[in-house]
Symmetry: C2
Subunit: 410 residues, 2 copies
């Protein structure tokens, strides 16, 4: 008999038929003798409907009220799922953020969990009920309702699993696991059986959408085994676990992210402090800069070119700033939104030095020019023209042997 947390996303509770399917699955888990905590998202589309109402009222609605509004989506799902389990003969009780006592900071719309009181949850399951918890929501120290940001129900589920020391946290989603890369652009993509927290975190950060980044951080911090799987079948999905239990592979997966734009300042006067000034001004505006490259200017002379990438969503907000700075430094500005960041992730790269060279060689072999590179211990990211996205991913997927399982001895 195990203590299991199951999380069902918006498509899994999209309507009463899907909810019935969830209740069947929950009943099956219960029939195995497991104690269950079920975390649910809002019915697909509901959060957008509610936020749409808010944005009809104001372009900048109050964030405290946004959270009180948006949290009703999960409250509705939780009650409906509990009722459906009961209608099938099971015992269930819905619990909201303030009933469990999931306390967070007061950063409305993107709050972080401070603490989860496990007493109500444990009392509920020990009383023979399935606890159906509304995901995505908590309360701050003053009792205000907060939400955890998009995908926050993943984090609710993993944090609850940590708080009650569950045996596993099952994340039910509309894909059947974590893939070596996006199967939509690379048909050879393979479902990964087991992946480490670190690799999952890099993949999630680099554009893979299957898990909220924060939920992976929490899982890693507390060592919660996470099982990413689909509610549409009984097939096992992908286990996200600590690296102790893993056979290391050189490359676990590939991610890509079209969300960045490239900015190039051409012909910046090469004086100390100039580059620092640009980036400190961007930081003041809360703009995260991802990659930065400084190189001798194409224009020659005593000047440099500075290239960096920012999120496309931030670009519009800061073009005035960038242009006034460029003018001050005697530079011209070029923008390129048509780029993609292609990333290779794998724990084995720590001990295998040749991966970067192989990646560059594979891309060069297809005539794909690399515009910028950044690396970490377990990741290599390259900026290339967006039109090469599919070609780059397929070339790397095959060239790095991801179409077969590539276990390495370390």
């Amino acid at each position: 008999m195990a203590l299991v947390v199951q999380k069902y996303g918006g498509t899994s509770v999209a309507d009463l038929d899907r909810i019935r399917h969830v209740a069947d699955r929950v009943a099956a888990g219960r029939a195995l003798g497991n104690d269950l905590v079920v975390v649910v998202s809002a019915m697909a589309g509901e959060t957008n409907r509610l936020l749409g109402l808010a944005h009809q009222i104001s372009k900048t609605p109050d964030m405290r009220e946004m959270d009180s509004l948006a949290s009703t989506g999960e409250q509705v799902s939780a009650a409906l799922v509990a009722m459906t389990i009961q209608a099938l003969g099971g015992k269930a009780k819905s619990l909201l953020g303030h009933q469990v006592r999931i306390t967070t900071d007061n950063a409305f719309t993107k709050a972080r969990i401070h603490n989860i009181d496990n007493s109500k949850l444990l009392a509920t399951v020990q009383g023979g009920d399935i606890a159906v918890v509304a995901g995505f929501q908590g309360i701050d120290a003053d009792g205000n309702i907060t939400t955890l940001g998009r995908g926050g129900s993943d984090t609710t589920a993993v944090a609850i699993a940590a708080a009650i020391n569950a045996d596993v946290c099952e994340i039910y989603t509309d894909v059947d696991g974590v893939y070596t890369t996006d199967p939509n652009i690379c048909p050879a993509a393979r479902k990964i059986e087991r992946i480490s927290y670190e690799e999952m975190l890099e993949l999630a950060s680099l554009g893979a959408k299957v898990l909220q980044i924060r939920s992976v951080e929490v899982a890693m911090k507390y060592g919660v085994p996470v099982h990413v799987r689909t509610s549409f079948s009984d097939k096992p999905g992908t286990m996200v676990v600590g690296e102790e239990g893993l056979e290391a592979v050189v490359v676990a997966g590939l991610a890509y992210d079209k969300g960045e734009a490239k900015v190039q300042l051409v012909g910046v006067s090469d004086r100390p402090g100039v580059v620092a000034k640009i980036f400190s001004l961007l930081a003041e505006k809360n703009v995260s800069v991802d990659m930065i490259i400084q190189s001798p200017s194409r224009g020659g002379g005593n000047s440099t070119d500075v290239t960096f990438t920012v999120a496309k969503t931030d670009l519009a907000r800061v073009t005035d700033l960038i242009e006034s700075q460029a003018k001050e430094f005697g530079a011209t500005v070029e923008y390129d939104p048509d780029i993609v960041k292609v990333s290779v992730v794998g724990l084995g790269m720590r001990s295998h030095a040749g991966v970067a060279a192989k990646v560059f060689g594979l891309l060069a072999g297809e005539g794909i020019n690399i515009q910028a590179i950044s690396t970490s211990e377990i990741k290599i990211s390259c900026i290339v023209a967006a039109k090469y996205t599919e070609l780059a991913i397929r070339t790397l997927h095959e060239g790095l042997g991801l179409d077969k399982s590539t276990v390495v001895e370390q």
Copy 2:
């Protein structure tokens, strides 16, 4: 400067346009220098939509889950109203049942308020915010969400007004006050300027729908002045107040209720205990019997006829019981659902003995047969055939002088 509670019903917050209208009205109240607590219902139709989902899942959904589900309707309205007030430049904060700490018993779907903690409400208005409270909801001692039953937001508003010692509780509704009778069937009906709690309670109990009965009880208990008015204009409506401040009228208003059915047991053996047995069996089934008349049987002999009325909604549930009892007592059963209870209410009836005679005379004058009568200190109710509803109401309205204001000296 006054402390005012305003309650807006579902039609007043039916869509974003109507909500904007509420926010304008609230802003106008604030501009007068008043401190405001605004209580809101769910957007019209929303509660039915949510309960409809529940009833698709089960004919008898769990009532705890029903309350958690249904309470989201008011939560959404409260957030949207607060946002709209803010968008118009005001300061506002939504508060839910668990945030105010409106504690109730645990009779889900029809809970009664035990206590309202006024500290959060007073802190909110003293901090310069308009408190926008989700009506209809509270929490029980275990933190479960409860609801107060249909029309419960009226009770929330009046109970809050009592808890914070407000100067007045304004109930905004889709009619502009309490009328001497239903204007839809009696065009001469007149808006009442002031009415006593006792009279309002009788009218509400006897079929007038303008205020939830429970809210009038709370207003009477705590002496909260209630102003029933419309949000569609600035006209004053009806003040519901203690009788001290009132000029007594003989008859304040007329109500009618088509919700009852008549049951007649013809030829019951006239033995002691027979009638008691019938009604104790009905009581065991939780069926409220309104009027009871026992008379010598039409069939003659040593038997009686027993006539009583029950709610139409209860009748179907107990016909088997009634018929088996009738058989046992050698009686036959006749049902008549086509009846109406017409009631005359007024404090002045305490000291004016002639009202009953006048009522009977007026009905007789139109050839309307009275099938049953019940009276209290301030009320006379008559059962007549349903087809006479309009005629009876119009005849009594004119004959008792309700078309003009009839102040009496006591």
